[in-house]
Symmetry: D2
Subunit: 385 residues, 4 copies
């Protein structure tokens, strides 16, 4: 089995989660290729050195340009913020490195398209870390759909309810600034929901949205205050809603918010079809609720499946049945599938091109809000919008 050198670009939260995921992919799973964690990169030397130490990287660097050129590196994992993905991805692709990139692929559609073109031109394996796709209960939902157990899809309803921004005393960080974050809850949380809708239902034809910034003024960070100026304006949304029609005829609703008190990270979807339904709530990530019309009317009812049997996706590799997994498992599965993709020279889903599709929906929703009308995703992709 080939040994592949891995470089991790980014060492903060996502750098930690991804580092750990590579180790777990080795300890718990048996990827068809054997990764060797070689070097971790970051701008702040003392920070990245400490991270290397703790996460178990033998080497660190403050120069990603150099790292992506190294011959002993075959895999580049981009775990830095979205607004600096582009140059790294382009350089890595040019060097023929396989790339696993955190979401969002980019902050704009055109950047994303350029990146997709680059990896396709270079012929490297590429994948975007929309990790929630790889929660086993979500994969089980997909398997049921593919097996026809849900039938023709009628309804999709999805929310990402979080509440961390409800207090007006939470200061203005980059997440409240359009210049740096692109958008608010719509892009941050909504993008995951769009990716899942693509995964479970299929392409979206058109959308119309509505957003609101409920807390329009927030305190500045102490470092950004000036004499007499201690608050600033928020120019991204706190909450976003949109309706969508899918190409296959299903209709759906999406919601993303940071001010839904009581829901820490409750991302929920429910799908209804002609033969059954599924329901998922990330706060209970080991469970999938499933309803089948095949059951006799007397005993019909949504059942709660504890997804952790060996019959379930990724189930054989974790604990005995009934002992749950956490958030981090979704990254382990992402890395595992990515490594197998590299072994087979085939980009796992979602690849960069699919992430472009997510970006296009986000832009369609953005236009629909500004122009107060339905916007077709194809018009956005074709540049006619």
């Amino acid at each position: 089995m080939e040994t592949l050198g891995v470089a991790m670009i980014g060492y903060k939260f996502m750098g930690k989660v991804h580092s750990r995921a590579y180790r777990d992919a080795i300890v718990l799973f048996e990827p068809k290729t054997s990764p060797e964690l070689r070097v971790i990169c970051g701008r702040d030397e003392s920070g990245v050195r400490d991270a290397a130490d703790r996460y178990g990287w033998p080497e660190y660097s403050t120069n990603w340009e150099e790292v992506v050129r190294r011959d002993d590196i075959q895999i580049v994992d981009i775990s830095v913020p979205g607004d600096i993905h582009r140059p790294i991805a382009l350089a890595a692709a040019q060097q023929g490195k396989h790339i696993l990139c955190e979401k969002p692929l980019a902050n704009s559609l055109s950047d994303a398209q350029e990146m997709a073109q680059a990896v396709e031109a270079a012929g490297v394996v590429n994948m975007v870390s929309f990790n929630y796709r790889r929660v086993p209960a979500v994969v089980l939902a997909r398997e049921l759909i593919e097996a026809g157990e849900i039938g023709e899809i009628y309804h999709w309803r999805a929310c990402w309810l979080s509440d961390w921004a409800t207090s007006p005393y939470i200061p203005i960080t980059w997440r409240f600034q359009r210049e740096r974050a692109g958008s608010g809850s719509l892009g941050d949380l909504g993008s995951h929901l769009i990716d899942l809708a693509h995964y479970l239902i299929g392409p979206i034809e058109k959308a119309i949205g509505l957003t609101e910034t409920f807390i329009k003024e927030r305190p500045l960070l102490p470092t950004e205050c000036k004499p007499g100026v201690t608050t600033g304006s928020v120019n991204v949304d706190d909450g976003a809603l949109f309706l969508a029609r899918f190409e296959n005829g299903a209709i759906g609703s999406f919601e993303a918010t940071r001010v839904a008190g009581g829901s820490r990270e409750r991302f929920i979807f429910e799908i209804n079809g002609s033969r059954g339904s599924v329901y998922f709530d990330f706060e209970r990530l080991n469970e999938l609720r499933y309803f089948s019309w095949r059951e006799h009317a007397r005993t019909q009812g949504y059942r709660t499946i504890f997804v952790g049997q060996s019959e379930h996706p990724y189930g054989r590799r974790w604990w005995p049945p009934g002992l749950g997994i956490g958030y981090d498992a979704s990254f382990v599965h992402t890395v595992y599938d990515f490594l197998n993709g590299v072994a087979e020279n085939k980009s796992p889903s979602p690849d960069f091109r699919e992430a472009v599709g997510v970006q296009a929906v986000l832009e369609a929703v953005g236009h629909s809000i500004e122009e107060e009308r339905w916007v077709k995703v194809s018009d956005v992709l074709n540049g006619t919008q």
Copy 2:
């Protein structure tokens, strides 16, 4: 205490539920006026005679015009289908009778407006039986909002998920015909959600919707089949979605569907505000979930309140704490509040005028779907739409 004669117009499902509600209002509650059930009306003599017998009415009639003119009748309860509410209500108002009318008030906005004008001109007490407003857990939600416990309202999300129409073998009854039903799930189920949104949040400024008829062809009823013609087209929606902006700045989503397998009559709403949240699911009608930001972070969490204490709305009149009530209780509360309204000569909410407001939102949504754009409710009410 004055005795008031009651005439029930309609003897089928709603006639039965309302008849029972008057009795329970007497047995369990102590309305400030004493109703005397005098006569029940219906078109089919043998049907209405049997109903009189079973529900305990001393008299029956097949002529509502006569009944609403009787001097020993002070209250007219209209429990027939919506498309024949108008003439009965107009006649009853003209005779100075107090009116409790089933929902929808009418099948069109103009009819509803005419009826509201009539009862206002006649000065009679009038009320529309949007019964779900009077589920105790829903009233508790309103009380919490009024007490400021939810704070400024940010989000409203409501669904009415039912599944009785999922099978394509269900034949075309009046509920699948626009001519008779007005609309599909939107009007039937969505109207309740709109009324609740008005009750809990306030007026809706504008809306945009999306509907779909998933099962476009259904079998005809045997009596409507002709040689070679055994199926017909459905021209109402199976499912409907709409987004709304409220006048107070909140944003919301609504959904109504008849094809959400696994949800028999799961009507759900969730409200998030600056100080707390509430969540209600009609399949667990004795419960209200409530989240308060006032609690210490360590023990914050949605709590499940079993609404049946003497401290709760209508709680003192029912069973000891913890012993639940059913669907029917909402009608008992409606009748009880209506009788008290009659005693005080004050129309309880929602009166006919408020029902006109529900109708206006339904029409706004209808226009928004046809024209694929946002429609303002005020434009509908002013006739400029």
Copy 3:
């Protein structure tokens, strides 16, 4: 169809609930015999007159001895406290009246046995109102067991958790006095659980229990205070636990308590067998949870059945699917089945003899606590214990 005159003995809480249940049995169901509510009895004249008025009884009386002798009375409903059931039941049986008696049948085993002998000797239809047996979800559990869907029964676990007595400021009423109440939570709440265990699993072979009085001293009622004496001792249990072995080999646990904060009247049972499991929680009385081993491992899971379809017990008579019923429905079903039993001259289950069985288990548990050892129910019934 024969008309049968009903006399209600008792007019307070249970008198109200039973009165209403007879009406609903007529309005909603169609019993095979037609009851006529003739007279309601109570000791306090003004109280019983008012009750007659409100509950719709044409006549009242303060003399039950007279009433049970009346020729126009065929049914005697005993809804007074348990310690005065015996004389009424014996007199009614002697007069050949059919009897529906509230639980507990009596406060002692010997009284209960005497009453059972009396009704059997008189050949009258007799039934005890263990109403929880007739919650539709509970009946569905029994149907699944009878159909073999649960298989051989292994485990029974049942709790009746209530919390009304948790505050030490709750004064000493009859419920805290062994002389009047017989026992505490064990007899009051535990008796229902024993009846359900008999209904669902079968006879209990032996038991061993443990009780505790956590709040040993409580305030006296103002009327019972004397100079310097404002508190009294509680001599019944606040909480009770017992283990049981059933005759069919199953093993089980029972718990009843009044001090389980947060559970208003949460009575729960769960049954596990070789082929499936069922779970019921009275706070969600319209639901039954059901697990079947027949399902493929990938989609196995407890399902939540909303018990309200026409396919469900008593389902055809209530509301459309998905609209729940309340606590009171269990009494309507009890009365309905009792009336049908009278029509067929066959005592519905549980009859007085079965209630003797419940009493015997209670006494066995009582002995087991005093003597700190396992006690066989047969020894109690045979008088050898």
Copy 4:
């Protein structure tokens, strides 16, 4: 910070989980002492070599006697089956090594006592891996109890419901043989519940139990079949129940079973006290349900706390709020606390002596079943039982 060499004895399931826990304790937490993973031990050379490779141990050995004598080893982690703990622990203690031992400490009380004496005599830090104590929601329950939020404890009810042994086709492995496993569900699952009861409530005074083997005959493993002999007898329990009185006056029930269909590993406890209640279900390990009597009656209710805030036990080290953790986290916390205990030269709870207490309760329950009477734990510890 001192570097401490770790030897892992055992390389199968628990060896894997513990190996990973040491790494995570370093990556995610910052223990006060720095462990260095030096050597992993096992009997099967190829197996342990492969494990060393995958779990990241630089060295492996098939000779634990040698390993525990090494000077570069300060910590011995015993992750082999319970029946071989004793010699390893005694040898390690004699060598002055700190010991983290998997549960059960031993299969008999006398072995456990000998081991506790050995570590105490040697003065080494010692701990038993009752990992469920360190689920954050469980720790939060303890914190609430310690802060007085639950008040005086009245009730403890705990179940460990699993279902893996329900099929009669599951063959006889060591878990079904008293000689090797000690007991069935009682020792395997019940021991965790006893440890938690000690942690949350306090010492148990006396107990009485009941067990059953529902499936008395099972197929032999192919390797153990002889001509004509293909099945064998099961001599351990499938399910076990016991009642307990705690020294502080609380009463409790315990259940452990392997045949509760629908519950994979649903371990549940509920505690009721004078001021509040808590409820935990391991299938939803990130949640604690909490009820407080301090809340106004109108809004009282069990709340569901998502335990993952920085205010929660171990919360600061994992993911942002709302992103759950899994089964494995409980081991990371165990190792983390153990390493800190080593740094401070203080055995974290539960140490070997506390594990002796668990063993004593198990033996008391065992005696109570054989002799059909209550057994005092102190009599077992004093050897008078």
